[in-house]
């Protein structure tokens, strides 16, 4: 039971919204100590794993390009382009991105999306721009909600698209695990059984995006009445 102290620290820390980096580090040190390691050993193990996983941070190399394009008016241009498409709404922009993200991921093209590469510079500004075209200036809560949905679309599309592709890590992990247990399965069979969930993911998240435009309209209207009530 003692090793679970780390999990407890993480849950309490996240619930209290303490600095997550501090919480995670404390949880790691506590778990290591609870399992009988010495403090220097725990710190060394933490340092080694941190350094070994530096590859996760490579995506930040995209920031100079994105910052450069934003400085030169990328977001402004994204909004201008989307405003010329009459039918574009925030929900529909995100629905199109969901379809693109899921299909490309299913074909193994996971690297074509991403929060730093696509959502921040292109998808979120376009969705925001489309909502602005319909409703004028947006309340901050609506802006937040649109950006959060844009990030969620990237995740849902990728998670439930990539598993349909046979050579992806999760399929290979399942196959390897079963092989260790003496069961041989074909990656293609596993990928085939990812399809029903993939379709359900598109239908469910797509339906939420379909309803999203109405939600925005309600939110904007509510904010507008509140504003008039407060004007003497």
């Amino acid at each position: 039971m003692l090793p679970l102290i780390g999990i407890l620290i993480v849950i309490v820390g996240f619930a209290l919204r303490l600095n997550a980096l501090l919480v995670v580090t404390l949880a790691g040190v506590a778990t290591g100590l609870a399992s009988g390691q010495s403090l220097p050993d725990v710190v060394a193990a933490f340092g080694k794993a941190f350094v070994d996983s530096r590859y996760i941070a490579i995506v930040w190399l995209a920031l100079p390009v994105i910052g450069l394009a934003e400085r030169s008016g990328l977001k402004e241009r994204s909004r201008e382009v989307i405003s010329r498409i009459q039918a574009a709404t925030a929900g529909r922009v995100l629905l199109v991105y969901l379809a693109l993200r899921q299909i490309t991921a299913a074909l193994g093209l996971v690297s074509l999306g991403g929060h730093a590469q696509m959502v921040r510079p292109l998808v979120a500004p376009m969705a925001e721009g489309a909502a602005e075209n319909t409703h004028g200036d947006l309340p901050d809560t609506t802006r937040e909600r649109i950006k959060a949905m844009a990030a969620g679309v990237d995740n849902v599309g990728m998670f439930f698209g990539e598993d349909v592709f046979v050579a992806i890590g999760s399929i290979l992990l399942i196959r390897g695990f079963l092989e260790q247990n003496g069961i041989i399965v074909e990656p293609l069979q596993l990928a085939r059984w990812a399809i029903p969930t993939a379709l359900a993911a598109f239908a469910l998240h797509g339906a939420r995006l379909w309803l999203f435009d109405r939600q925005i309209a309600r939110q904007v209207a509510a904010e507008a009445t509140q504003a008039t009530e407060h004007t003497p």
Partner: protein, 316 residues
């Protein structure tokens, strides 16, 4: 051969440059903390492979301590809204090119570089092609941007600093969580959890076992932040011995949908920081859990769908 180490030098230059820009920015009241934080991070990229594990660990602790004390953010605007609007009118769709170069060059690189050899030696370390291709893609994107938009030479690093400081310490959270996962694994957390699950969960019928497996995958993924870490533990604990062997479920269907149930957990946890917390910071949301909130309804509905799918198809 190009290895990951070469890309880490680029990362060191980026984070080191961010430290320098912060040191020179008096508009940030906590500029020396930011300088220390990004400077130490740069050191871990340049020298992490050569320093001892203990030294690396202590450097990480310095970063964590600095972040816990609180980082700041410069307030100096690089271009005004009017400048950007004028620039958008001037450059028009050219603005999209450098940004799109990054994903497309990454994709092309990961396909083309995989089999490229020079004198029998692969040009790129075959195990790390995707990460290296991403690194090269960002460099190509930057060069394209410099050529097309002709900004001042300092613009890329000044802009990267602006974005990186708005993300703040959340930028290194995914790495810390990977480290935590490693500590959990050596401490045997998985074994304790699967013992608890098999002891206390009702597993008396096929459907109950399916529910326990799918929900267990989602919950343990939420704890570990990663379905890959949860899968071996829950499948060895519940999936294989109960759903497959005792109740005769189809092994392909059970494990494939089991993994996807774990993905539902990934959508709901701050422990999956690179999917949920980092984008919230990158999009400058005021609610750190805003992305998770947007995903929870879909995740719960999909988890229910997975349970139904597994119950129907695994026992035909």
């Amino acid at each position: 051969m190009i290895k990951l180490e070469a890309i880490y030098v680029l990362m060191g230059l980026l984070t080191g440059g961010i430290a320098v820009v912060n040191a020179r920015d008096a508009s940030n009241p906590r500029r020396w903390r930011n300088t220390l934080f990004w400077g130490v991070y740069a050191l871990l990229f340049f020298a992490g492979s050569y320093l001892s594990d203990l030294v690396n660990g202590m450097l990480v602790l310095v970063m964590v301590g600095t972040a816990a004390a609180g980082l700041g953010q410069g307030t100096r605007e690089t271009t005004s809204a009017a400048d950007r609007l004028a620039s958008a009118l001037r450059h028009r769709n050219r603005l999209f090119i450098p940004v799109l170069v990054v994903p497309f060059a990454t994709f092309a690189g990961s396909v083309l570089l995989k089999d490229l050899t020079i004198g029998g030696v692969p040009l790129v370390d075959p195990k790390q092609v995707t990460q290296i291709a991403l690194g090269i893609g960002t460099v190509l994107g930057l060069l394209t941007g410099m050529a097309l938009l002709r900004p001042p030479v300092s613009a890329p690093i000044v802009e990267a600093r602006r974005l990186m400081d708005s993300v703040g310490w959340a930028a290194v959270l995914p790495q810390s969580l990977a480290a935590l996962g490693a500590v959990f694994a050596t401490a045997g957390v998985g074994k304790v959890v699967s013992t608890l699950a098999t002891t206390y969960l009702p597993l008396g019928s096929p459907v109950a076992a399916v529910v326990a497996y799918a929900v267990g995958m989602a919950l343990f993924t939420m704890i570990m932040g990663n379905a890959f870490a949860a899968f071996p533990v829950m499948t060895a604990g519940i999936g294989l011995p109960l759903v497959v062997q005792q109740y005769g479920g189809d092994v392909v269907i059970v494990t494939a949908i089991g993994m996807l149930s774990g993905f539902c957990g990934t959508l709901m946890t701050p422990m999956a920081a690179n999917f949920n917390i980092v984008p919230a910071a990158l999009l400058e949301l005021t609610d750190r859990y805003g992305v998770i909130r947007a995903q929870v309804p879909t995740a719960l509905m999909l988890l229910a769908v997975n349970i139904v799918l597994m119950s129907i198809f695994a026992f035909r």
